[in-house]
């Protein structure tokens, strides 16, 4: 189907099913039940799953295929967001031009940064991208927000004000990002007995975009270009002596992944029309690295899983507080209860990063191929096959 082989087609169908049915899948517990706090099927969070999935898919095209570890990809995401909000401010709340511009601007910006950074490889490349991203952050946070030339609105973040021109905005269109009149916030709520499911227009826009860019990523992975990118990772020396110039290949991969990041940034702004500099900070760049490694570097589905995993646990763990814990452990004797809660306390709420760190360490040590490798092992175990060489940390790029 669509020029893909059987395996890739089924992978695409799985992703399509997961994204389209996410409102059901992520809301398995009836509303009002004790388990409802583990539900993740509300629009805001589902949008984040998908948007960070797109971000990570793009990042994986660079890191997974060529092995160049960029620590500055959040800069492209931020640039994408700012571009989109500027479209909202100046022209229209329609999300299509905003998203298109965010991709283009992020592409140009990554061309510039990639051209300079790719003169070095390895750790030097990582540091260069990190430096550029921090410079971009500083520019957005303070330099480009002075009264005479206010491009980013600094600390407050760029947002749409009532006195902005919005030249193509008509009365009757929603006063929020919309797709030809369909507001991104419009949500249809389906109640089935004790359960309720939210179908949000913005989420489904993101989901469709995710499927398209996931499909494109599969094409890239299977193309001669993708093979050349893996050759860059494998042996640049042989590549150069085979008559191939590795620089334009890495630059093309860098720009493509920058455009994916810009797309994610544009979608983020389309869901919520504001853009802040903190989106470009190095922690945000680090997060996408974690997502990719956690899910499975160089695999197709891995980055999407990693993004979902991190965003889900971020949300769930940061919602749990001491009261919730006391509720859970109420069956213990008083002293024990306080003790257990005190032990767990640092890992929840604002301390959820500790939990993330532990999970990340566990995955990297025991599943070097990420969640995808975990899935493969599980499948082999269920089928009763002995361990294969797949467990050596080299994941098959095919999955």
């Amino acid at each position: 189907m669509l020029g893909l082989n059987k395996k890739d087609t089924s992978l695409l169908l799985v992703v399509a099913a997961l994204t389209l049915l996410a409102p059901f899948i992520l809301n398995p517990f009836p509303e009002g039940s004790a388990m409802a706090q583990f539900n993740a099927g509300y629009p805001d969070l589902m949008q984040r799953f998908v948007i960070f999935g797109i971000f990570a898919i793009g990042f994986n095209i660079l890191f997974g295929l060529t092995g160049y570890l960029s620590f500055g990809h959040a800069a492209f995401l931020g640039v994408g967001s700012y571009s989109a909000v500027w479209i909202f401010k100046l022209f229209t709340y329609n999300v299509l031009p905003a998203i298109a511009l965010s991709v283009v601007v992020a592409g140009l910006f990554s061309l510039l940064i990639g051209f300079v950074s790719l003169r070095r490889s390895g750790i030097y490349f990582s540091i260069l991208t990190l430096a550029f991203a921090q410079m971009s952050f500083a520019l957005a946070y303070s330099v480009l927000s002075n009264p005479r030339f206010n491009l980013t609105n600094g600390e407050t973040g760029l947002q749409v004000y009532a006195d902005d021109p919005q030249w193509f905005h008509r009365d009757g269109l929603p006063d929020l990002p919309h797709l030809f009149g369909l507001s991104m916030r419009s949500t249809y709520r389906l109640d089935l007995g004790a359960w309720s499911f939210d179908f949000n227009a913005g989420y489904y826009l993101c989901a469709v975009v995710l499927m398209v860019v996931f499909y494109l990523a599969i094409r890239i992975f299977r193309s001669p270009f993708g093979m050349m990118l893996r050759a860059v990772k494998s042996n640049q020396q042989r590549m150069n002596y085979t008559g191939l110039n590795s620089r334009p290949y890495t630059l093309a991969a860098f720009v493509i992944s920058g455009m994916y990041a810009g797309l994610a940034g544009g979608l983020m702004a389309a869901m919520d029309p504001l853009a802040g500099a903190e989106r470009m900070q190095w922690t945000a760049s680090g997060e996408v690295v974690l997502m990719t490694i956690l899910g499975g570097t160089g695999t197709l589905i891995g980055p999407v899983l990693g993004a979902g995993f991190i965003k889900y646990f971020e949300n769930i763990f940061s919602k749990i507080n001491d009261n919730v814990l006391h509720g859970w452990f109420a069956f213990l004797p008083d002293g024990m209860e306080d003790f257990v809660v005190a032990i767990i306390h640092p890992f929840i709420g604002k301390g959820w990063h500790l939990t993330l760190g532990l999970l990340f360490m566990l995955v990297v040590i025991f599943l070097p191929g990420g969640l995808v490798e975990g899935g493969q092992r599980l499948r082999n175990w269920v089928r009763g096959k002995p361990k294969t060489e797949n467990t050596s940390g080299k994941t098959e790029p095919a999955e």
């Binding site: 082989n5 299977r222 001669p224 002596y241 085979t242």
Partner: protein
Amino acid sequence: MGILEVKGVNKRFGGLQALGDVNLSVQENSVHAIIGPNGAGKSTLLNCLVGKLIPDTGSVMFDGQSVLGRAPFEINQMGISRVFQTPEIFGELTVMENMLIPIFAKRDGAFRMHAYESVQSEKQVVEAAEEMLEEMNMADKREMHSASLSRGDKRRLEIGMCLSQQPRLLLLDEPTAGMARADTNNTIDLLKQIRDERDITIAIIEHDMHVVFSLADRITVLAQGTPLVEDSPENIRGNPKVREAYLGESA
């Protein structure tokens, strides 16, 4: 005039004169061996031919065009392929992919954004790669990760990758270094077969006299960065200067 003409090449690393006034002429469709003791400058010379090093003075002409100042990938596109001392292949990729890459490089040049069509849809390239694998007797290993091949197979694969580009000049840097006798003999047979069946010039740097004397038409002896003598294998064997400088006990 030879296909490869090296004239007056000097290369200095700090105080060390690695190459001193090297002149070398490799005739088309011959096998030219360059031998010499350790530190004679063989590898430095080779690196000057493929664009890895630039000589301080002198000229290197391939088929009437200078190679100096060109990047390795440009020199490869001119028709020079290099086989390394330790096989340089794409270890994480399958044997088949290893063979596909040079054929794509030959067809599409140094860079082509070929990102939408799948590899498998490029029928001609796939067929050419399969033919080459047949020729190298590796068709049954096509789905293996090339890193898990034996040393001899890695060498075969690398030579096959170079040949798939139909180079005019094949440079070999100690192709049998560190190989068992059986693998060495296989490699010699392979190179003989290449020499006899293809329109190709081979320049080979080698330590192993057995290899050199079974293959070469001409031999250049390097000593301390300078060519000592250039002659046919028979004359080299009998040359007292060569014996003294290099062959010594082993001849």
